[in-house]
């Protein structure tokens, strides 16, 4: 089912960039629905506009975070950088809940990585990022580190 492109069925189609630069309209619409009353309606155009706004938001915040990394001569944009950028750009009420969320994620990740190492000696995180090299702190490749 084509979300934004008439006739497109293959997400791998090189010519169709739309699906790459926007979040899926169904997901965006679902989040919007959680806000409005149950009997409210949301026009398709409003969802499309929201898709565009979210992509712009991601780009806007990522740019700010990436500039900070460049200034500090770091190569990798981290979750902390995103939190910092959000606060800097005025989204300071996002910062605390996101930091809690990130903290929880890191806790779980630490446990999982430890379990993975014990089990296979393989750095599971390499499955998440296809084309990136890992900064040293994530390189938990089991080389007799125990």
């Amino acid at each position: 089912m084509a979300e934004n492109i008439i006739g497109a069925s293959n997400e791998d189609d090189v010519g169709i960039k739309e699906q790459d630069r926007l979040l899926p309209i169904a997901n965006v619409g679902r989040i919007m629905k959680q806000i409005v009353p149950p009997n409210a309606k949301i026009s398709k155009e409003a969802k499309e506009t929201m898709q565009e706004c979210v992509s712009e938001f991601i780009g806007f915040v990522t740019s700010e975070a990436s500039q900070k990394c460049r200034k500090e001569r770091r190569k990798t944009v981290t979750g902390d950088d995103i939190c910092w950028a959000l606060a800097t750009l005025g989204f300071d009420n996002y910062e605390a809940p996101l930091k809690r969320y990130l903290h929880k994620f890191r806790e779980l990740e630490g446990e999982k990585a430890a379990n993975q190492m014990k089990a296979t000696g393989h750095d599971y995180k390499q499955e998440e990022e296809e084309d990136e090299q890992y900064p040293l702190k994530f390189s938990l490749i089991g080389r007799n580190q125990q």
Partner: protein, 105 residues
Amino acid sequence: MRQAGSYSGILMSGKTGPHLLPLARIKKIMKKSGDGVKMISGESPIVFSKACEMFIGELTQRSWMVTMQGKRRTLNKEDVASAVMATDLFDFLLNLVSEDTFKSS
């Protein structure tokens, strides 16, 4: 010891669990933001998925208030544009929504 189920729910790339937005797509959008963004930690898209939820929530809430002021029950794109224009925080969206409104007229 945490259970594998709830943990993999948090980590799975957009398939299941608490993420409402696909992480791989978020990552693609981040990379296109320019400024030579090359390396992104695995946790960044996860932070963004939450941040985007909050952002969509806030903008939707403000848009809906405009809809209600107009005594309507359908949130339309002009409501989103109005909310953007009325909120300093969303100044970075001004060009986007005015282009949008322009397209339809």
